[in-house]
Symmetry: C2
Subunit: 495 residues, 2 copies
């Protein structure tokens, strides 16, 4: 007990100091070190003989020192950022409780919290009161997988017991810019990645309803069985929202399960101002929505919401009577709804954060992030040398920076290659400098900066600084860097 008490006290001190660092812009986002360097500086080997509590704290200090400071205002590298204090408290209390979500019996309060949250989130989707249920899952990929499995077993009701019908080739539809987890889900489910048809997107990155209709008709004509339409509400790279109203109508007409992968964008449902981006979501059969993204809940926190009550249990339950007992409260057991047996408590952090913020606080957060994203868009558009690549719908801004030496090049493959190489090179230098961490992604075949406004601590000044950093590091590139190979002897535009 004395050891425990000591470690608890020290953890609180470390945490207080660490969080204070998020407010200090002189703190680096990351102290970049290669794996080889880290292996040299840190002793990472699990030892034969145990170490003292003081030695553990030293380990923790090194871990914090060399880790990425995701709560830093300059962290905009992933689809998550800072987390709120109530969420942190929730995680800490979850570790203290150390229970598993399979039965009401061993997790009574947190089970009811999860149920209340799922009902509340279904309300934002807009299903009627007597429809909808949900489950928290370890990430959006598993949520998408569970949705696809539920759909597969609805399309082929014998699949659970007898396996896939070898006579029917099941087909999945999603946009060309949807998340890779849907393809993996098709592979997991036994359909193979080739069963996934990637429907073309418009200039903003939204799935084309006409192209979808054509793809469904064509699959039908080939004797295939289209069964699962995955729309995306905020695509991973461009942040586009597929037109749910039209897609839902097509799904209904063709009897497809209509899944909305709103892992990134689901939180817009909280804001009266922005929920129009997901107009038509109430047509969905299922929705994946990750509160660990825009809502700032500690990782991981992903909800899968399913319109038809009982469908998740019908898909996943195996009747394990050693675990699930008959009894008046057995209907609250959540274990049969999932692919997991033991399941971590992800509900408490979300619930506490919702208590702390309320619907209103979370809506304000979403709105602030959209405002921030709008500022980013405008800065990129206004600044010399920057090119906005897609008109942003959500919180992602995709853009290029053209080093001075490339600005005179004619658009075409050579310029694209040069700009892509420059993007990667500039970003790598920014990362090494450690002041901001922004990611890049391939868009229309070319690496581009992808800024994500998911971090509540980021201010407009931080965005300006990010663009300054890009310019500053671009200026350090060798003249040829980021340029397509040029014929020997060709003149170079700048020194």
């Amino acid at each position: 007990m004395r050891d425990t008490e000591f470690l608890i006290q020290e953890a609180a001190k470390l945490a207080t100091a660490y969080v204070a660092g998020h407010f200090d812009r002189q703190e680096p986002v990351v102290r970049v070190a290669s794996a080889a360097e880290l292996a040299e500086r840190l002793d990472l080997q699990p030892p034969r003989t145990g170490r003292s509590a003081e030695s553990l704290l030293e380990d923790v200090r090194s871990t914090l020192h060399y880790s990425v400071r995701t709560g830093h205002p300059g962290f905009c590298n992933q689809l998550f950022g800072d987390h709120d204090a109530a969420g942190l408290l929730g995680e800490w209390m979850t570790a203290l409780l150390n229970t598993s979500m399979y039965t009401f019996e061993v997790a009574p309060v947190v089970t009811l919290m999860e149920l209340a949250l799922m009902r509340h989130m279904c309300g934002f989707v807009g299903w009627p009161e007597d429809e909808g249920e949900g489950i928290l899952s370890p990430g959006g990929s598993i949520a998408n997988l569970m949705a696809l499995l539920a759909a597969r077993n609805r399309a082929q009701p014998d699949a659970k017991e007898r396996g896939l019908d070898p006579g029917r080739r099941l087909v999945v539809l999603m946009s060309a810019e949807a998340h890779y987890s849907v393809e993996r889900a098709a592979s997991v489910a036994g359909l193979g990645t080739e069963a996934v048809r990637k429907v073309e997107v418009d200039a903003v990155g939204r799935m084309s309803p006409e192209a979808l209709e054509a793809a469904v008709v064509q699959a039908r004509a080939s004797g295939e069985q289209p069964f699962f339409l995955c729309a995306t509400a905020s695509t991973t790279v461009a942040g586009a929202f597929d037109p749910l109203e039209s897609l839902g109508e097509i799904a209904a007409r063709h009897g497809l399960w209509f899944h909305v992968d709103a892992a990134c964008g689901g939180s817009v449902l909280l804001s009266a101002k922005h929920r129009g981006l997901m107009r038509g979501v109430e047509r969905a059969d299922s929705v994946a929505w990750n509160p660990h993204k825009m809502m700032g809940i500690p990782l991981t926190c992903s909800a899968l919401l399913v319109r038809e009550r009982g469908r998740l249990a019908a898909t996943n339950a195996m009747g394990a009577d050693y675990l699930f007992h008959q009894g008046s409260d057995a209907r609250y057991d959540l274990g049969d709804l999932t692919l997991q047996c033991g399941r971590r408590v992800d509900a408490l952090k979300l619930w506490l954060s919702w208590r702390a913020q309320g619907d209103e606080g979370h809506a304000r957060r979403v709105e602030r992030l959209f405002t921030l994203a709008g500022t980013m868009r405008d800065l990129v558009e206004a600044r010399e040398g920057f090119e906005l690549l897609r008109e942003p719908e959500g919180c992602n801004t995709c853009f290029h920076y053209l080093p001075v030496g490339l600005r005179g090049m004619e658009p075409g493959p050579a310029r694209s290659r040069a700009v892509g190489e420059a993007t990667v090179a500039i970003r790598e230098r920014m990362r090494a400098a450690g002041r901001v961490l922004v990611n890049y992604a391939t868009l229309d075949g070319v690496p581009a900066f992808r800024h994500v406004a998911n971090n509540h601590r980021t201010t407009p000044e931080d965005l300006g600084f990010l663009l300054d950093e890009i310019e500053r590091h671009a200026a350090t590139l060798p003249a040829a860097a980021g340029r397509a190979p040029v014929p020997a002897g060709a003149a170079r535009r700048s020194s």
Copy 2:
């Protein structure tokens, strides 16, 4: 920041007080309340308007008050129990770091920790140094699923892209007492639960090699393709260890992927004294091993270890270039090995605990649990009215208690039914009293007490108290309770 600092300080105080309660045997394991009662006493609704920090702390206090105290010495209800202080520290620091395990770039230190842990655990499995890799997954069920998928895609190399070969019926083999997640994995993978053949077990609960051989031969003769043998190292209910040496030999002879579901038992590998229970494990193609069980790591912490390096990536990678970038340290990116995209940091808690305990400390813990289980077995065997149902190999003790009124009954279905009903009724009264929480499970068709020695805080005195509680509550049963319906007017044996 002030709110965060306040909540961190208060969390530390709450945690210190809560953990102190684990040492006080007057504290109940659980204050039983029905879902309806909890819904009345607690305000569980996510509110429209945010609440104060003080109100959050009140919420936390109620949550702790009505939750099951899994660290209590009387908690032996699940395959996990108390957790160690280093693990708690690890979870708290994980929440603080708030990063995701997909790329080395955003999770440098914890990625190297996970790699070091996986190598270390592969060493305990006993694979050669140039074989073996692993990944932490959200629970043993997902680990078993990933093993089955890797095996499926080895058996049918086109499965990832083209889906299951409709011409070949894949077959899974496991024991009749294996965990239900294997059946679910078969269903998920598109094979269906009927593809799973349940091989009979011996009197201890171990899979019969002869019956396995016969099942494989029979499946082959029917034109099926057996491909996945799941052995269990400590079954969920009886705690039996399948004979890995013999099963591995059969798997090798028939070209089956040999998976060992050692979610429960894997930690015996740490103890020179007990690792003989898993003799032959080095023959495995994959091993699932949950440190959140016998090792006392906070939930969830599950490793999937796979002998063939590259097999997990070959199964799961989708080439998502928005996330995984080329670069010298890209080979440390773990994201492509899993079914997840965002993945919680489960490595830090395990790593810190391993630093604190060392191999030796964890071995001692395992050995103490076995000693405790041996004491339980002996107590059950020695006490009047108790019946040991299986000779325990691992840390589970399955037994019946015969209320005085049932002791004269002839063995047979009526007695079994009466004993099973008594088990459930006694256990329900014990749960309501809240001094100990022990589970029951169906064994050979009859509900039986299942004691799990997984809790480091439990002492031999606690075990004696548990048996006392069973006797005490049995004495409160109405004479007819736990009895088969008796013909009207039949004499009752006791009042």
